[in-house]
Amino acid sequence: MVEKKARYQNRIELLQGTLDLLILQTLQWGPQHGYGISVAIRNRSGELLQVDTGSLYPALHRLEKQKWIKAEWRISENKQRAKFYQLTSAGKKQLTRERSKWSQLSDAIAGVLQPGEK
């Protein structure tokens, strides 16, 4: 019971960090609304990454609270009112940090995995 809970928490932790990076990266190409972000991540990952709305919206609101992104109500290209998120300058710096952290992590993981595959 306790173990299960701990594993569950780990998954959330990992996803959260990664999701923040993915959102910030997506917004670098321009302001986007929540639905647009989820579609963009799905398309760019070759349909591999399905973003759960229950994670996406809390992440968006958290990033907004940390002032890395800011929100604004606009009319979409389909003439629909939607809340558009946009990177702030602090958000851009955060994205750079997150990216370098991610590449370090993936390098490290790759390093660990390689000798085993030989």
Binding site: M1, H33, G34, Y35, G36, V39, D52, T53, G54, Y57, P58, A59, L60, H61, R62, K65, S76, N78, Q80, R81, A82, K83
Partner: protein, 876 residues
């Protein structure tokens, strides 16, 4: 961040989710789905809208408050669902918190609030320390020298209370309580007159023109609050006093026995002893230290001053020092221990209330174990469940606390009615902000205390076990916790009961103390001659007094009347200095012997019911023309004439008179039933009233009356008095029984409160053990059914259930006895005639508690024996 900000964000979040769903649906429609299909698919893809909203709200950082509101709503629902449990729990808490709040408001008003004067920490009580009195009267000449010679006081003033004047020329003649004081007294306490001014320097000197300050109360009562009153004259004891100022009605001269209505400069006191350096006239002083001066420095300074005086006036001032006592300690020193012990006791009541509610919650949480297991299975975190339980107990605590404050407000008002008048500043006892803060704090603390035990216990059992048990619940650990709580409750109750028992035994011992006279047949009052008699000849005054005596004697219901001057048992003391004839005259007054003097009529002994031990008492012939005689008490006789007869011996008084001892009588407990034995000055000396110089009795005297109805007889005396003269006043009637009762007031008050607290504790503890034993027996119905089906008799079942209850009781009583052994020592100075570890009280009270607990367990035990095995086994 307001509620409105939050509401707008909620709406925005709704709109955001809606736009997400619309966009998702629209894209699907563009790919050729029907509107309905597209909408369903978009919703499916989105997931649980409510959940998404909730987790997003969590990201705002406001989840905690939200959850709290949720917990509160749920908690209220749960409490409303079991009104019986809720009512018992809330009532228990309200009693505990209410009793504590009420007592705290007394402690707050009396002990915690600063004295109602500016910079009260600079104020000290000043007294002369003498061989027989650690805090004796200051003589006026010594005071004048203290004032002149000290270096550490910003100011000093003296007061002599408990004086009264006959007021004439303003309606019916009456006796008005007054205080003599020196100039600067009101300035020192920061009291400003509402009208006029305070006494000017020099106005307090002997020979100054008579002036008077009146209180706002007197101003209103006798003068209709007229604004043009300054400069007008009041006739007091036949002399005109100019009104110079009005003291606010709110001013309270702390420590004065009666509330005075006027203040008169000390120089107006026509007492021939006023300028006598050795006289003890009941004068007290108050001083204000210079800023930055400590009490120790002031003491050292006064030590120097008094030593110089002793060197200058060895005959009167040898061995006389100055007592410098912080005013707060002087005024509150005697009530502090009483209040603190009571406060400790009432804390125990709250603890028992908490334990009781904890037990109730524990029993109920067992019933709810199934609910918690299901919630845990559905994903509620353990922390969340604990928080929910704590919220529920907090709710109980807050509601109980609120009700408790209401109880306290009502209870405090009732308690003030029985508060002893000696408990100073009782008017300050109100439910103020600090009291509310206290009530709030103890409520929350109590909530955490009694909520935490069951909450943590609930956390223990795993989900599987509880669900498997099928809601039958009840693990051994929880039963042990309940047993421990009941034992704790019994222990706490026992400590309180023992405390109450010791107080009861103290009061009983005090009531059995023989005061040395028959209190239940005697009353006393004050009498003053018409002011016009004041300057009459000694013969005229004595003739008038004899006439008054005969008139009073003839009043219906009166069995005897005697004038009395000097000391009155338990009321006021007066001392004379003497040496034994045949011994050399002591060099100074402080080396003379002291005796309490009673200057009384010949009938006094019979009226008071004091036993004659040998010789004779006075007769009507021991008057101003006869040789001067005296009667002494056994203490004086034993102290100065041990092994020989005192009768026929002679005493020299410090004033020069020689008295022959003609009789020995029993000792009277002048200093009070409890403390008299411990005093050093106990020798008593009686002299005939008519042999007192007429100058001393010109104003009036005390009167003691013997009657079968001491409370009612004053009415007929008042009638007899008014028939004689409209300017002759009788006042201050008191029966001796009242005097004795009020001397025990503090102890009686403590005993009553202790009794109430102990009663509450006993009730709560009985409910506690009854509840737990009932509950445990109920849980074992199944087992009992099996036992009975297998042939157990009713007595076996009875013994089993009773045994479980009595085990907790015995453990509790054992712990309680040990705790009481340690704790009752703290109340040792409240006790009289009984030891703090009195075995009889300990054993007796322990037995009573055991019997009550047995009775409380017996009810559920009997119920258990009536279990029908068939029903019990079919059940479940």
């Amino acid at each position: 961040m307001s509620f409105w900000w939050r509401k707008r964000r909620e709406e925005e979040l709704d709109a955001e989710v809606r736009s997400h769903l619309e966009m998702a649906a629209r894209e699907r429609m563009e790919r050729g789905k029907t509107a309905e299909e597209a909408e369903h698919a978009a919703r499916r893809e989105f997931g649980n809208v409510g959940l998404v909203r909730e987790v997003t709200r969590d990201a705002w950082g406001w989840g905690a408050l939200d959850r709290l509101m949720q917990d509160l709503r749920f908690g209220l629902r749960i409490l409303a669902k079991s009104p019986g449990f809720t009512a018992v729990a809330i009532l228990t808490l309200a009693l505990g918190i209410g009793a504590n709040t009420a007592l705290f408001s007394v402690v707050n008003g009396v002990l915690l609030n600063p004295l109602p004067y500016p910079e009260p920490e600079q104020l000290v009580e000043l007294r002369e320390s003498k061989p027989n009195f650690a805090t004796g009267s200051i003589s006026y000449p010594n005071f004048l020298d203290w004032q002149k010679d000290n270096r550490t006081f910003a100011s000093m003033a003296i007061v002599r209370g408990n004086r009264s004047f006959t007021l004439t020329g303003l309606g019916e003649a009456e006796q008005v309580d007054a205080v003599f004081m020196s100039t600067g007294f009101f300035e020192q306490l920061g009291v400003n007159p509402v009208l006029g001014r305070a006494f000017a320097p020099g106005e307090d000197r002997i020979g100054a023109a008579p002036t008077v300050m009146i209180t706002g109360g007197f101003w209103k009562r006798k003068l209709g609050s007229a604004q043009d009153i300054l400069g007008k004259s009041l006739t007091l004891d036949g002399r005109g006093y100019t009104i110079i100022g009005i003291i606010p009605a709110s001013f309270d001269l702390l420590g004065s026995l009666r509330t005075p209505e006027m203040y008169v400069p000390i120089g107006q006191w026509s007492n021939p002893l006023l300028m006598n350096r050795a006289a003890g006239l009941g004068i007290g002083g108050i001083g204000r230290l210079k800023p930055g001066v400590t009490v120790q420095q002031a003491r050292a300074d006064m030590e120097r001053v008094t030593q110089n005086l002793a060197a200058a006036y060895p005959e009167t001032d040898k061995g006389i020092g100055a007592a410098v006592i912080p005013l707060r300690k002087w005024l509150l020193g005697s009530v502090e221990p009483f209040l603190l012990v009571l406060f400790g006791a009432v804390g125990f009541v709250l603890l028992i209330a908490c334990v009781n509610v904890a037990n109730l919650l524990l029993a109920r949480s067992t019933g709810r174990a199934h609910e918690f297991a299901i919630r845990a299975a559905l994903g509620a975190g353990q922390g969340r469940i604990v928080r929910q339980l704590l919220t529920e107990s907090m709710l109980l605590a807050v509601i109980g606390g609120g009700l408790g404050v209401l109880l306290a407000a009502a209870g405090t008002r009732a308690a003030l009615g029985v508060l002893p008048t000696t408990l100073l500043r009782a008017t300050d006892v109100v439910v103020d902000g600090r009291v509310l803060l206290f009530a709030g704090s103890i409520s929350l603390l109590a909530g955490i205390c009694f909520g935490l035990v069951p909450a943590l216990k609930t956390r223990k059992p795993g989900v599987h076990e509880t669900l498997k048990e099928g809601g039958r619940g009840g693990s051994g650990a929880r039963h042990r916790a309940q047993g421990a709580l009941v034992a704790a409750e019994m222990a706490l109750a026992l400590v309180l009961l023992i405390g109450a028992g010791l107080m009861v035994r103290t009061l009983a011992a005090l009531w059995n103390v023989n005061p040395g006279f028959e209190a239940n047949k005697v009353m006393t009052f004050g009498f003053s001659l018409p002011p016009s008699m004041r300057n009459a000849s000694p013969e005229a005054i004595r003739a008038k007094l004899r006439e008054v005596h005969d008139k009073f004697q003839a009043a219906p219901g009166v069995q005897g009347v005697a004038f009395s001057w000097g000391a009155t048992p338990l009321q006021g003391d007066d001392e004379w200095l003497f040496w034994i004839d045949g011994q050399p005259k002591p060099a100074s007054e402080s080396e003379m012997n002291w005796a309490i003097d009673y200057v009384v009529d010949y009938d006094y002994l019979r009226i008071m019911g004091i036993p004659l031990k040998s010789g004779r008492f006075f007769t009507a012939q021991d008057d101003e023309h006869a040789a001067r005689v005296a009667v002494v008490d056994e203490v004086l006789a034993n102290q100065f004439f041990a092994g020989q007869s005192a009768i026929g011996k002679h005493l020299h008084l410090s004033g020069g008179e020689i008295l022959e001892i003609v009789g020995v009588v029993g000792h009277v407990k002048q200093w009070g039933l409890d403390t008299d034995d411990k005093e050093t000055l106990r020798a008593q000396l009686y002299t005939p009233f008519m042999q007192l110089p007429a100058k001393g009795i010109g104003g009036g005297a005390g009167v003691v009356v013997r009657s079968d109805q001491p409370a009612a007889v004053f009415q007929s005396i008042r009638q007899a008095n008014n028939q004689m003269s409209s300017e002759q006043v009788v006042f201050g009637a008191q029966t001796m029984s009242e005097v004795i009762a009020s001397s025990l007031a503090e102890r009686r008050f403590s005993m009553i409160l202790f009794g109430i607290f102990a009663g509450l504790a006993l009730l709560l503890a009985s409910i506690g053990i009854y509840g737990v034993v009932s509950y445990l027996a109920g849980q074992r119905t199944h087992e009992i059914g099996i036992r009975m089906a297998l042939g157990a008799k009713q007595t076996d079942v009875l013994r089993m259930v009773l045994g479980a209850g009595m085990k907790m009781t015995v453990i509790g009583i054992f712990i309680g006895l040990l705790a009481a052994l340690g704790l009752t020592r703290l109340m040792a100075n409240l006790l009289f005639g009984v030891s703090a570890t009195d075995p009889l009280t300990f054993v007796g009270v322990g037995t009573i508690l055991a019997i009550v607990a047995l009775a409380a367990c017996h009810v559920p035990a009997r119920r258990a024996t009536r279990v029908d095995p068939v029903v019990a086994l079919r059940y479940e």
